[in-house]
């Protein structure tokens, strides 16, 4: 047990150093990219104020942004602020970026979590069905469907769902995370879920075909293994084998893969949120990019990298904790 803890600690430290180096690199690269942009953040900020500014005020804003300082110095100033938790002020929303990220992440998290769980469960179940019926009709049909689905862009699927379920069938509202014109305090949980359902359903289509195909492949490998042959020789039927050996050997790799797919999930949520006008990080980042809101763009980029790293960290730890060949070595 002690050995395991020690090894976990070592994994944590090693991975922590890597995450820090990656985040630092992301900050340098994204800062360089936005600095290279022809979009003038000061101009955008002033536009966002909506009022005319005097030359003195403009100069003040410019010095706040450090326009006249060399880029490296500007970067260091920005970084030191970020490390103190100050991500700057958003030009569109006129509020601290950190607050906006915090608020919107709650919405995005609800969306991504629902989609993630839904995609994970349906994908895994379908993968098991395909694996059990390997080479037969259900497997062939589902495999074709999965291949087609993986070529369908998320945003178009969202449009079609919107058309079918909201416009024609009127089952779901057209967009936003709550009914328009209702105070946020008065929105019920049911209303929130009602608005969340279709975007989450759409987003789940992004990855479930992938999970299903991966699970199928793993299950086929397991079913062709010598230990399953031996289990058959001992009188275990197909479903006993799935329960005793199949799930044991494929469930946790699938879960690991799920955690490692946070990048696609986040990317997909940008599109899904835009289709459904869902007020999360994804719609904020595209708005920030379109309207030249540099602090918000940088903030969300850093946050998304942190989010992906967290997923990868969990995946790595799971991988180590699950496989006894790795886990027991420490003992």
């Amino acid at each position: 047990m002690k050995g395991t803890l020690k090894r976990l600690a070592r994994v944590f430290v090693g991975y922590g150093i890597k995450i820090l180096s990656l985040l630092l690199a992301v900050s340098v690269i994204s800062f360089t990219l936005v600095s290279a942009s022809p979009v003038d953040p000061v101009q955008q900020y002033i536009l966002g104020l909506g009022t005319a500014v005097s030359p003195e005020q403009r100069a003040e804003i410019e010095s706040y942004w450090g326009v006249h300082e060399p880029p490296a110095e500007r970067y260091l100033t920005w970084l030191s602020q970020v490390l103190r938790g100050n991500l700057g002020e958003s030009a569109i929303f006129r509020r601290p970026v950190a607050d906006i990220i915090g608020e919107r992440f709650v919405n995005s998290l609800a969306l991504m979590l629902c989609a993630w769980v839904l995609a994970g469960i349906t994908g895994f179940a379908l993968g098991c069905v395909m694996g059990m019926y390997q080479g037969r009709l259900p497997d062939r049909l589902l495999k074709k469907a999965c291949y087609v689905l993986s070529s369908v862009p998320t945003f178009w699927l969202g449009l079609v769902f919107l058309l079918v379920f909201s416009v024609w069938l009127k089952w779901f509202p057209i967009g936003f995370s709550s009914p328009v014109g209702v105070l946020s305090r008065e929105v019920t949980l049911w209303q929130k879920l009602h608005h969340l359902a279709l975007p989450a359903f759409t987003l789940s289509f992004l990855s479930f075909a992938n999970i299903a195909l991966h699970t199928r492949q793993k299950l086929v490998d397991v079913l062709n293994s010598e230990y399953v042959l031996f289990a058959k020789a001992r009188g275990e039927g197909p479903f006993t084998i799935l329960r005793r050996h199949g799930l044991r050997n494929i469930l946790l790799p699938a879960l690991t893969l799920q955690f490692a797919s946070f990048a696609e999930l986040f990317g997909g949520s940008v599109l899904a949120e835009n289709v459904f006008s869902y007020p999360g990080l994804g719609s904020a980042v595209s708005a920030a990019g379109l309207q030249g809101d540099v602090p918000l763009l940088l903030g969300i980029t850093l946050f998304s990298a942190l989010f992906v790293c967290a997923g990868n960290l969990i995946a790595n730890l799971l991988y180590g904790a699950v496989d006894p060949q790795i886990r027991e070595v420490g003992k």
Binding site: L33, L290, G292
Partner: protein, 274 residues
């Protein structure tokens, strides 16, 4: 005999697919801008024989616009995949052939690119280059090379440990000679197949980014832009604007993907045996 038949069939099938793609591409390029331009008299028409995909709010024919959009998407997709595949080969080969330090740095670089959601990274690059075509191209090219680079790294590592490569080295052949005669013949198919399989992804990304408004300017007929416009008219019941161009995009992507799989079978018979 039968094997030859099957192979020939596959070649013909793949050629037919490529031909269809080429025809669509040529149509998109050759159709003059004015052909798609419409008048308000024909605005918002549902699909008919005259306008197979209907018309949009400005009365433009959506079928022609979709074709033009597809050719734009294909151009960008092909260019971006080609750049990406070259990056992948360079990184993969350098990573496998270089010292352990180089390998570690390049692996870290791959982790870095994989560590930011691609949509976000493309948005940033597009933002840096002032949106438009260049940003789109650079963004897609910069994000699609990682998995192919890993594949090629593995391939080169495996090839280097082969007996015949070791024999050539003993015989005093230069590493350039080995590269040319032993590694290149194995890497070329990987490169082509990787490129073709990257192509549909690149098209999908192009459409997504244009949809978000970061790609081509709104007057350009790109699929993503048509679909973004269609959003405004969804509740008005103009289903054809969203459904038909999207469906065409999906069919093209499936076609390219299938052609890529066939090409893989033709170029790399071992992997096709499964």
């Amino acid at each position: 005999m039968k094997q030859a038949n099957r192979r020939t069939k596959l070649v013909v099938l793949t050629a037919a697919m490529v031909l269809v793609l080429a025809v669509i591409y040529a149509c998109g390029i050759l159709i003059p801008e004015e052909a798609a331009a419409g008048s308000f008299l024909n605005a918002k028409l549902p699909p008919s024989l005259r306008h197979p995909f209907g018309t949009d709010a400005l009365g433009r024919d959506l079928f022609l616009r979709t074709l033009k959009g597809l050719s734009v998407s294909m151009t960008i997709g092909l260019a971006a995949s080609a750049i990406s595949a070259v990056i992948a080969v360079l990184v993969g080969a350098a990573s496998a052939a270089g010292s352990r330090g180089v390998d570690a740095v390049l692996n870290w670089l791959i982790d870095l690119v994989m560590g930011v959601p691609h949509t976000i990274l493309i948005l940033l690059i597009s933002f840096a280059l002032g949106r438009g075509l260049n940003g789109l191209l650079a963004g897609i090219a910069a994000t699609h090379w990682c998995s192919l680079a890993r594949l090629i790294r593995g391939e080169v590592l495996q090839l280097r440990s082969q007996q015949y490569v070791a024999v050539s080295r003993r015989l005093g052949k230069s590493s350039g000679w080995i590269m040319l005669y032993h590694l290149l013949p194995h890497l070329a198919p990987q490169f082509v197949v990787g490129l073709v399989l990257m192509f549909p992804h690149a098209i999908l990304h192009e459409a997504s980014i244009s949809f978000l408004g970061f790609g081509l300017p709104p007057e350009q007929p790109a699929i993503g832009i048509i679909l973004a416009e269609s959003m405004r008219y969804l509740s008005a019941g103009m289903w054809w604007m969203a459904v038909l161009p999207g469906l065409t995009l999906v069919s093209i992507v499936l076609l390219v993907d299938k052609a890529g799989e066939h090409l893989k079978t033709l170029l790399d018979p071992y992997s096709a045996q499964e």
